[in-house]
Symmetry: C2
Subunit: 205 residues, 2 copies
């Protein structure tokens, strides 16, 4: 075990006591007990959708209900979808996307798919039994203007009290960021794709 | 529905066909079929641990086994832990941390906890039935030098073939980033804590 002498231990204790005082003041400064959050996971890095599913899992762990709408991904067989099946009807899942827009190459079909996905999203947002709605890759549909930005942002702002919504995808629109409570930008520092490694089961899909 | 005329649809199709060619070339350039990845989720933003648990969920969805060691968090009751219980012994979970270092204020206890957590990590890394190991907040233990950096990095580099490891926590050490295959930096664009909102069940814990 690493050796620590008493002087060092005392110094550490004093430093951490000061740090705890700062933390406690910070916690005391927060006065809003409960708030349904509008959360945006954006940026070019990995983890936007994965973190949203991590939140979904946490909610499910508290016995709550979660709804997911996938705006872009097609009918891929993904590990998380199978895993969520363990939670039965507490997880409501709609895969509405037709695949990446460079796969379909059909703008009319893409728009129709985005509109159908949005209709499902509105259903989930208005379902009082659901506590968290994940709108996976909605940012892509907004970026390509498949959906009206103002209409989407207004609907999200007007969501019922207590409902958490997570929106994922690169290039989140400024109006959405403005409306959000929590925005995280995932930055790519290093990626195995650049080293010639293919997408890995359980990691990428 | 949004109106798209035929010229626009054709232009979109041509653009997406070019984009697909680029994507296909990129995919073709990847030649390594399978590789156990060393993944690091770092940065001040939200989602480092949550995304790691999202990956764990994906692996579980494929019927694989996952091990988690929590280096810093104490015996908190968190939603994800309850949720993972649905997967029985395919999820091996060790909460080894004593809580944040400013809560314990005891460096010797923190070091002993980090060393015990690392011993569990090595067990999981060497367990051939496990496909993904999450070392949650290991970066904190490395940052405070509770564990020897070279020893940790060497162990992670020497992991058995095919094993994926995710390390989370702020301030990842350069030597760890150097050894990693995939590094994501979570940046905080906006946080509800700054707006006076307390930690929310299902979101923060």
């Amino acid at each position: 075990m690493k050796e620590i002498d008493d002087t060092e231990a005392e110094r550490h204790k004093a430093k951490m006591a000061r740090r705890k005082a700062v933390q406690d003041a910070e916690v005391a400064g927060k006065t809003i007990e409960q708030k349904g959050l509008l959360i945006v996971n954006t940026g070019p890095g990995k983890g936007k959708t994965t973190a949203a599913f991590g939140l979904a899992l946490r909610m499910l762990g508290y016995g709550r209900r979660v709804g997911v709408v996938q705006f872009v991904k097609g009918a891929w067989h993904t590990g998380e979808k199978d895993a969520f099946a363990a939670f039965g009807d507490r997880m409501v899942w709609h895969t509405m996307g037709e695949g990446f827009t460079w796969e379909t190459q059909d703008i009319k079909r893409d728009i129709a798919a985005a509109e159908a996905a949005w209709a499902k999203a509105v259903e989930l947002i208005n379902d009082p039994t659901i506590d968290l709605v994940v709108l996976d890759e909605l940012n892509i549909a907004l970026r390509y203007e498949y959906l009206d930005l103002d209409m989407v942002v207004e609907t999200l702002k007007d969501r019922r009290e207590g409902l958490h919504v997570v929106v994922t995808g690169r290039n989140a629109k400024p109006a959405l960021i403005e409306a959000a409570d929590l925005v995280t930008e995932m930055g790519s520092v290093k990626h195995h794709f650049s080293a010639g490694v293919k997408a890995q089961q359980g990691i990428e899909f």
